[in-house]
């Protein structure tokens, strides 16, 4: 009997509610997802685009002003040489990490619930990396020379980059990450673009989606190579995503600035990145599933699972803060100790405690199942978490730099309106890209969801048989 009830329990665990209500047919999935890009453009879409692209335009103006005038228009000044530029860069790169985690790591762990959110999360990765990429180019002082970041032979100077510097590792890590994420995303899109191509009713759509889907036919041979490529990309992206924020943290940890020079940075940055990225996925998903009416495919269980990840990574981040504090005392290094006392009780204490309350306290509400499944509540918490994670980067950068060893070199960083408007503008860029993505591309990986529906049906059938067989055995036992 015990064995039997375990089997039934396992059935529940093997097939968590991927969808709600009646199990959709394959055609229902195609219909629900493709229709988004096929209906006539809604007036609200133009309104949304007008708003987001104006914000992006403002960012463009701010950058033009910066380039024309110089970095002096930012609040960066000795001793705080890294201000909002690097804070925002690290913030955006971190957001991207959840997308890769969902698309690659959860794929390798066979977490089926990822299928209906992975496309969306991967898009978020790409757009976040695009926002992050705004900063390294413009913060170098002479943006028209930004290509010097890459090892391109330059005859008239005959110089090469310093490959021993973590800043150069960062260039390679971020550009590799952006490229591989784009490739991974595109590979996943090919079969779905073919679906939209085959449903196209106008020649224009046929040609556009036809070119984008490369003539995909869905033959068994195609799928064979495709699945292999997908598996390899997942395998490559997994260590890659861990390496990216590790290397970003090296920008700080490899230096000898008290407050930066710590070995805990790589794991702590990676956990924080996943934490903020999942929060961003929740923020966007709560809105998108409602606007595009895919609540039956992106269920409350998906959001619940993501909130569990937020809880877990948020707790890791809290643990890392505690460890940092402990080590600053335990190391016996007076500069280390001062840096951390100053962080928590100095002029930036307000930022430090904002960070702690947003990142450590707010996710703890997710211990309660009812709160994890409460849409307005999780929406608010997900935004609070991202505010907290932005402050984390700001605290790390500003508090470690603003008091140099000599009190004569002390200062206090204040952002200028150019800093603020540029950062606000990156949200415009992020959302503009999303507005285009959700309009023209399938926001849910149709072929993957169909494959999962088929596998689930198959599994149910198999387990039903197993249950029937064990029941039969009991009957036989009883007869004896």
């Amino acid at each position: 009997m015990a064995e039997l009830s375990q089997t039934v329990d396992m059935k529940e665990r093997l097939s968590p509610a991927l969808t709600t209500g009646r199990t959709p047919s394959y055609h229902d999935v195609t219909e629900a997802v493709s229709i988004v890009s096929e209906v006539a453009t809604h007036r609200n879409w133009y309104i949304a685009l007008a708003i987001t692209s104006s914000i992006t335009g403002m960012m463009g103006l701010m950058i033009a002003y910066l380039v024309a005038t110089g970095v002096g228009v930012w609040g960066n000044n000795g001793p705080v040489g890294w201000g909002w530029d690097i804070t925002n860069f690290v913030f955006w790169i971190g957001i991207g990490h959840a997308g890769t985690l969902i698309s690659a790591i959860l794929f390798l762990f066979r977490q089926k619930w990822r299928t209906s959110i992975n496309r969306f999360a991967e898009a978020m990765t790409l757009f976040a990396v695009a926002c992050a990429a705004v900063y390294p180019g413009i913060h170098v002082g002479r943006p028209w020379r930004a290509y010097w970041l890459f090892p391109i032979p330059n005859e008239f100077l005959d110089l090469w980059q310093n490959f021993r510097s973590p800043l150069l590792w960062d260039v390679f890590a971020v550009s590799t990450y952006g490229t591989v994420s784009a490739l991974f995303w595109y590979v996943g899109l090919i079969p779905d673009l073919a679906t939209i191509r085959d449903r196209a009713t106008t020649t224009g759509r046929q040609i556009a989606y036809g070119i984008a889907s490369l003539g995909w036919r869905g033959s068994a041979t195609h799928w064979k190579h495709y699945e292999k490529a997908y598996m390899i990309l997942a395998g490559l992206s997994t260590p890659l995503v861990l390496s990216v924020h590790t290397i970003v943290s090296f920008d700080f940890a490899v230096s000898i600035v008290p407050g930066w020079h710590t070995t805990i940075f790589p794991p702590y940055f990676v956990a924080g990145a996943i934490f903020s990225g999942f929060a961003m996925v929740v923020t966007l998903m709560v809105i998108a599933r409602w606007i595009y009416k895919v609540e039956h495919l992106v269920t409350i269980t998906h959001l619940d699972n993501m909130n569990k990840v937020i809880l877990a990574t948020g707790t890791i981040v809290g643990y890392a803060y505690a460890t940092e504090m402990f080590i600053s005392w335990y190391s016996g290094n007076p500069y280390e100790k001062y840096a951390f006392m100053n962080r928590a009780m100095g002029p930036y204490a307000w930022a430090y405690w904002t960070m702690v309350s947003c990142n450590v306290i707010s996710p703890q509400f997710f211990w309660f199942r009812s709160l994890r499944r409460n849409l307005p509540f999780m929406f608010v918490i997900s935004i609070v978490v991202n505010i907290g994670m932005w402050f984390e980067r700001f605290v790390i950068i500003a508090t470690s730099l603003h008091r140099d060893y000599l009190p004569s070199a002390w200062g206090y960083f204040r952002p200028t309106f150019v800093d603020i408007c540029t950062f606000f503008g990156t949200f415009g860029l992020f959302l503009t890209l999303f507005v285009f993505f959700t309009r023209f591309l399938p926001i849910i990986a149709m072929s993957e969801v169909k494959g999962m529906l088929s596998a689930t049906a198959h599994e149910k059938h198999y387990l039903d048989e197993a249950v029937a067989a064990s029941e039969g055995k009991e009957h036989v036992g009883a007869a004896h």
Partner: protein, 179 residues
């Protein structure tokens, strides 16, 4: 050499992956070998059923990764120790420890390029025309139909006998398509 047949093959259209798999297994048993299946999503075990070999994309990816790794080592050694040797903080011109991040990144980058473009090339894409597009119902393949083609070049192929055979497997629709 027989001249190229003007008929590409016989299409059998099924409504579920289970039916398609059943038909593939039966067709193999009946001695057919030149067949191809078209499905809206990958179906587990279909390659074994059709007797297809595993994808060897992985070997190419390993080679791509090795190339990336070599380039990363040579780039960092040559620029740092040969072309532009500069003492920075008393560090050696070239050593492995600080080179590891870039070695790792370029290995991953090259592997990923080979995985994606290798997959596209091995699938013969991009391709504008294929006989399957002559099948009247081919547009439903990327939606919810499961299609099996037995090619006319198969030794066992016979327009009437193959049609009867596939009809017996539960196909909803049968159609001869042109090459």
């Amino acid at each position: 050499m027989a001249e190229k047949p003007s008929i590409h093959g016989l299409v059998a259209d099924f409504d579920s992956p289970e039916r398609l798999m059943g038909a593939i297994k039966a067709a193999r048993k009946a001695g057919y070998s030149k067949m191809e299946a078209y499905t809206p999503f990958p179906i587990h075990g279909i390659d074994d059923a059709m007797g297809a070999k595993q994808s060897n994309l992985g070997y190419f990816v390993v080679c791509g990764g090795a190339v990336g790794m070599t380039i990363a080592i040579l780039l960092q050694w040559w620029t740092g120790a040969v072309a532009y040797p500069l003492v920075i903080a008393g560090k050696p011109f070239f050593s492995f420890e600080p080179s590891i991040p870039i070695i790792f990144e370029l290995t991953v980058l090259f592997s990923a390029f080979v995985a994606v473009f290798g997959m596209i090339a091995m699938n013969g894409l991009p391709r504008l025309y294929h006989p399957i597009f002559n099948y009247s119902g081919h547009k439903a393949i990327t939606d919810d139909r499961f299609v099996l083609i037995i090619e006319a070049s198969d030794r066992e192929f016979d327009a009437t006998a193959t049609r009867d055979f596939l009809a017996a497997q539960g196909a909803d629709k049968l159609e001869l398509i042109e090459a």
